[in-house]
Symmetry: C2
DNA sequence: CAAACATATTCGACATACCTAAATATCGGT
DNA sequence: ACCGATATTTAGGTATGTCGAATATGTTTG
């Protein structure tokens, strides 16, 4: 990881990642344009970044990320998304503020802390990257097939794998009730097909209306 | 607020606050010692900080915070505490990591975002500043008298004002269940004096053992 | 294949934000 | 009025990041 206070270097890496997403190596001017700096500045920085092992760079040949540079850029983007989602879905900040804050915090938060927040918000296994401005291809990897709580049979239990974030306020409510990925739930009873579900969550048993229950996805075992 | 990337200036302000807590103006060498820099550096910085209106400073006379400097320093300290508490109590990070992270994040997070986190963790009305290394005198101001859920009568309802953080894991569990300051709860029934409390929390009704219920403090209306 | 054009690099310079060490100045007490 | 403690100034250093203009390279095309 780069030291604290190297936001600019980190921004270069993340922008190289963005521009190289298409596959090709990135040109100096393209990067300069994209970042709003002069091509000369870019060349300077690329030399530094190369010296430090974060990019593959040969003069006049364009630039690409090395393994370690990619890791940093990817982590930054991921942290940005996690923070953005946390700020909007959990803290209920508006999109613009959240984006701005996330941009600053992505440089300040450790991977560890971000992962812990991620576990609260369930970003890492969330297939619909609703609040993301650019899709987080890294983090979207729903490995096992999860089913919604409304599809469970009475007596079934399972581990929450993610929450649908289609409706932020529903996700927020669920999270604040303790429905977070990783926790075990059991469907205790069903009032009626269109009615409430009674669910055991750890020490507590509670009832959710159909709509809210349908936003919880679990891996039944 | 200072611009992003002025961590050092902010550190000066916060350290001036710490040293001036006793009442007297702060001397250059004391500050230099405390911060591990040379007295010359301090003098330089004080001139800058004065020019920017954050400190009262006359040569050879020591330094103190202006209103605006105080505001920034106080906010920083508050943000530090909020983050530290969030990282330990909610994210379950160990104390050392949390402290280190909080030190970085205090400079990155906006007051707004911090206040929102505060509302989740209940720092601002929490009388026992358990995880704080230095006590947060600013933020401790329990205005109204809150009572524990175990002291409520059946049928009472009220607004959660804070959670006891004596036992971090209890607080964490409660938070993850949705017991966060500001939410309304109603005591639906009591199984027995030493037994579980059945509590309505928004849409959900759930049961908590006596120990957990006793950690929730509400303002009954 | 060589000029022309686009693109990239180097160079010299500048700005800011820190910092130090050592010389100098000031304050306060005896 | 001097002395010692404390503070400031001075002169200089390092790091980061920037620009613009001169120069070099790569690429396209006639």
């Amino acid at each position: 990881m780069l030291d604290v206070g190297n936001d600019s270097r980190e921004d270069y890496l993340i922008n190289i990642l963005r521009l190289s997403e298409g596959g090709t190596a990135v040109g100096t001017s393209a990067l300069a344009d994209y970042m709003g700096v002069s091509p000369g500045s870019v060349t300077e920085m690329l030399k530094v970044l190369k010296r430090e092992g974060y990019v593959n760079y040969e003069k006049y040949r364009g630039v690409s990320l090395t393994e370690s540079g990619y890791r940093i850029a990817r982590d930054l983007r991921r942290k940005h998304h996690i923070m953005e989602r946390f700020l909007t879905n959990v803290l209920d900040m508006d999109k613009d503020n959240a984006h701005e804050q996330a941009h600053i915090m992505e440089h300040a938060i450790s991977n560890d802390a971000a992962e812990r927040i991620c576990r609260i918000t369930g970003t890492n296994v969330d297939p619909d990257c609703a609040t993301c401005t650019d899709p987080c291809t890294d983090s979207v990897s729903p490995v096992s097939i999860s089913i919604s709580v409304v599809e469970m049979k009475v007596g079934d239990s399972g581990i929450i794998s993610y929450l649908s974030t289609e409706d932020g306020s529903v996700a927020r409510k669920l999270i604040s009730m303790g429905f977070v990925p990783g926790r075990e739930v059991e469907l205790t009873s069903v009032v009626s097909e269109k009615g409430a579900r009674v669910i055991r969550l750890g020490d507590a048993t509670l009832a959710l209306d159909r709509n809210m229950a349908s936003a919880i996805f679990v891996d039944v075992r």
